[in-house]
């Protein structure tokens, strides 16, 4: 660099900026932070939700195109257990919210030693159980279709049914893992009343709910 010569200030005339020697004045106060920031885990969950939505939007558009491209679309006789599964998943969202309310109430207690998270934990366990029930129910639905002789490659509607349910199921398993992680964090940090991981896991879990209702709608209307 030492070999390179240039004229300081010559370019400054173009930039139009001048410097005064008022050093030391903190200008940070004059440039506030843009907006309110979320916890990274909250941002991350919303970003992940964008990506997952996009993934299923692509699959939905593929379904619409595929349905129109061939004459081989055959409607499925949907296993009734799907509706039971739906109810279980929606119920799990409610149990999760009850649990979060309990945690918030316990955390509001000024005395850390008086905080009791045990009832909240039970509701969280109920959420996990309902989530597992949903996954098990989806597998029963697959067995039901298989018993009808309908497999992945039988016809395009069944292909999309298996792809939709499998991909959603995998994401639900991810949500269960997230809830377990949040529970572990919660038991470790009982005394800090800021269950950040649980908040993020809850947003994701409710999204799984909404996504499933959307997929069920598509399945019921199109398949």
């Amino acid at each position: 660099m030492a070999s390179t010569t240039y004229k300081p200030g010559a370019a400054g005339a173009i930039s139009g900026a001048k410097l005064t020697v008022e050093a030391g004045r903190a200008r940070a106060a004059a440039s506030p932070i843009a907006g309110v920031r979320l916890e990274p885990s909250q941002t991350g969950i919303w970003v992940a939700i964008c990506a997952i939505s996009m993934c299923f939007a692509a699959l939905t558009s593929a379904l619409v195109v595929r349905e129109g491209s061939g004459m081989d679309w055959q409607r499925l006789v949907l296993p009734r257990i799907l509706y039971f599964n739906t109810a279980a998943l929606i119920a799990s969202s409610f149990t999760l919210e009850i649990s979060r309310k309990r945690i918030a109430a316990a955390a509001a207690n000024a005395d850390p030693r008086m905080r009791s998270y045990a009832p909240a934990m039970n509701w969280l366990l109920a959420t996990l159980a309902l989530g597992l029930l949903f996954v098990a129910g989806q597998i029963v639905a697959w067995r039901n279709l298989a018993a009808q002789g309908i497999f992945l490659a039988t016809n395009p509607a069944s292909s999309f049914f298996y792809v939709f349910t499998a991909m959603h199921g995998l994401h639900v398993l991810g949500g269960l893992a997230g809830l377990l992680y949040a529970m572990r964090r919660l038991t470790r940090t009982m005394r800090t009343p800021k269950p950040v991981a649980l908040g993020a896991a809850a947003v994701y879990w409710h999204f799984m709910d909404v996504l499933w209702v959307y997929l069920l709608f598509i399945i019921a209307v199109r398949m």
């Binding site: 200030g9 370019a11 930039s15 410097l19 964008c50 993934c55 692509a58 081989d72 395009p156 292909s159």
Partner: protein, 593 residues
């Protein structure tokens, strides 16, 4: 949230001490960035050697290439490439270059290293996801390279893997059995890695900026990585399910992309009703944004480096460039159909895709004019990174101008399957992004390794490469206009035979330009260990990465929490000690916006 407490202590732990945690399964974004860069370096030389094989074959169709018959006894018996193996080389060259070089180096490599530093964070928002992102990408690379070593070789369907040939399996040619399945799996795995990476980039940019670092004060490179992450998040989220459907067609007997009644190699394919066009739509819905995933970081890197060497802010201020990048990001999602003018889609759709394609040239042109206007009248410091920035502008314009022609469906009908398109995308996407990678490497090497790279070797490297790429790709425009079809392995038609001397010229130029890259490799490795020690801020630059030691400590700023007062490009400020004001300098600048 109060910002003072929002300074996240991501690195709760002390720096790792074991070799494995420090260099292999590292959570440090700097190490992960270098891992991505190293992977891209391996990939780029692999891809370049593949292109040499193709070029030699195109110039001298009967030439025996040494050692190639060892790699593939069937594909190149006696070292002479078969037409099918030519397509394998083409497929692997394109896939390796687009995914593992043009996506990895400027975005994942430099982005991982410098995005957290440039916003003043200690690490990425999710270090564990970050580590997973690299290793998942690494596995994807291994799975892809494995295709070279399976029985019938790598796939032949091109980097776009058009259905139905990519979907039906072994009947459609050598490499289309296991090789094509490995391709589909590799790209699906790659998507997962990129999604994790994009998630990290977005959360880090939004949540971990240091005090005073507003979005408007972020350096343009960080803006580019952020916009690219947003594009990548949605684009790879579409490619992932598309690859899953493709692999299901191949191994599970579904018919997403394979129509009924298809006879390939005299065999009726057991599929029904699928839509080959569906694959093209899904692929190019990802594929066109992918072009911008490669070039936006390049635009950002050049916009970041250029003011350092012109010693003045970009013409019109950085908000215009930010606006251009965001506009390109949005528009990149509505132009994918221009890759499909010849696919048999409705000609009216072609018009609908042609118009936004022409519109997207407007922000790209504005950015280009800003660079040109910023060079005008500047006292440019002609260092190697500055030269590569200027070279980038040159090839970006050369490649961009041919884009105006190709955006017209009527002209594209003639040129689409010719070398004109090869020249276009190699210039505007390939070479332009590579030049930005070179600029970034020479610019940031002092920061990444604490050692300066050799300027003389750098300048020789620049001039040989700059002249070389023009010698390679300029004649291809001429070939294309003369009707020279791309993807052919040999030219035997009457109208193509007279063009073979041009191919020979291009081959020689490609071999020489490739050899010139050894100068870069030598410079990189030699400087890494023996180069002169770099100061903290060897280029007199302003952004936060120059506000720490070279290389930066484990937590980037040695426990300091920086406060940012200025935008990233306060150069040419009359009356300051140098001619520039660091972002963290509390000096007040009169007239600063």
């Amino acid at each position: 949230m109060d910002h003072g407490s929002a300074q996240p202590a991501v690195h709760h732990m002390t720096p790792p001490t074991t070799f494995i945690r420090k260099y292999v399964f590292s959570l440090d974004h700097k190490v992960i960035g270098l891992q991505y860069y190293g992977l891209a370096l391996v990939a780029v030389f692999t891809g370049m050697v593949l292109s040499w094989f193709m070029r030699i074959h195109l110039g001298w169709a009967t030439a025996a290439i040494p050692l190639l018959d060892k790699l593939s006894p069937n594909g190149a018996p006696g070292g002479v490439i078969t037409p099918e193996y030519y397509l394998s080389l083409l497929t692997m060259h394109g896939t390796i270059m687009v995914f593992f070089v043009l996506t990895n180096a400027p975005f994942a490599g430099f982005g991982n290293y410098f995005l957290p530093i440039q916003v003043g964070a200690e690490d990425m928002a999710f270090p564990k996801f970050n580590m997973m992102s690299f290793w998942v990408t690494f596995v994807a690379f291994l799975v892809l390279i494995a295709a070279f070593f399976v029985a019938d070789g790598p796939p032949i369907s091109g980097w776009t893997a058009y259905a139905p040939l990519s979907a039906v399996g072994g009947d459609s040619g050598p490499g289309e059995a296991l090789g094509q399945t490995l391709w589909g799996l590799s790209i699906a795995i790659f998507c997962v890695g990129q999604l994790l990476g994009s998630l990290n980039f977005i959360a880090t940019t939004l949540d971990l900026r240091t005090k005073g670092m507003t979005l408007a004060k972020m350096p343009l490179s960080t803006w580019a990585w952020f916009v690219t992450a947003c594009i990548g998040l949605l684009a790879f989220a579409v490619l992932l399910p598309a690859c899953i459907l493709l692999v299901l067609d191949r191994i599970a007997g579904t018919s997403f992309f394979i129509p009924g009644g298809l006879v390939i190699s005299d065999k009726l394919q057991p599929h029904n009703g699928g839509s080959p066009l569906l694959w093209q739509h899904l692929f190019w819905f990802f594929g066109h944004p992918e072009v911008y995933i490669a070039i936006l970081p390049a635009i950002g890197i050049v916009s970041h480096i250029l003011p350092t060497f012109t010693r003045k802010p970009l013409l019109g201020g950085q908000r215009v460039v930010i606006g251009c990048m965001v506009a390109i990001g949005f528009l990149s999602y509505v132009v994918w159909g221009h890759h499909m003018f010849l696919s048999g889609m409705n000609p009216f759709s072609a018009l609908l895709f042609s118009v936004p394609t022409l519109i997207i040239t407007i922000p790209a042109t504005i950015a280009t004019l800003i660079w040109l206007g910023s060079i005008y009248g500047a006292n440019i410091r002609f260092t190697t990174p500055a030269l590569f920035c200027l070279g980038f502008i040159s090839v970006f314009i050369s490649g961009g101008i041919s884009g105006f022609f190709l955006a017209q469906p009527s002209i594209d009908t003639y040129l689409h399957a010719t070398y004109f398109v090869v020249a276009h995308f190699h210039f505007v996407m390939g070479v332009a992004a590579i030049f930005a990678i070179f600029a970034g490497t020479y610019f940031w090497a002092p920061k990444m390794w604490g050692r300066m790279m050799n300027e003389t070797l750098g300048k020789i490297h620049f001039w040989l490469t700059f002249i070389g790429v023009y010698a390679i790709f300029m004649p291809m425009h001429y070939l294309g206009l003369a009707g020279n079809v791309r993807r052919y392995s040999a030219f035997v038609d009457d109208y193509l035979v007279p063009l073979i001397p041009v191919h020979k010229f291009i081959t020689v130029a490609a071999l020489l330009t490739g050899a010139a890259q050894l100068i870069f490799l030598y410079n990189l490795i030699h400087s890494r260990f023996k180069g002169p020690k770099a100061s903290d801020n060897p280029w007199d630059a302003t952004s936060l990465e120059w506000d720490t030691t070279s290389p930066p400590p484990f937590d980037n700023f040695g426990g300091r929490h920086l406060t940012v007062y200025h935008g990233a490009y306060e150069y040419g400020v009359a009356g300051s000690k140098g001619d520039y004001v660091m972002q963290t300098s509390p000096e007040k600048i009169v007239g600063e916006s």
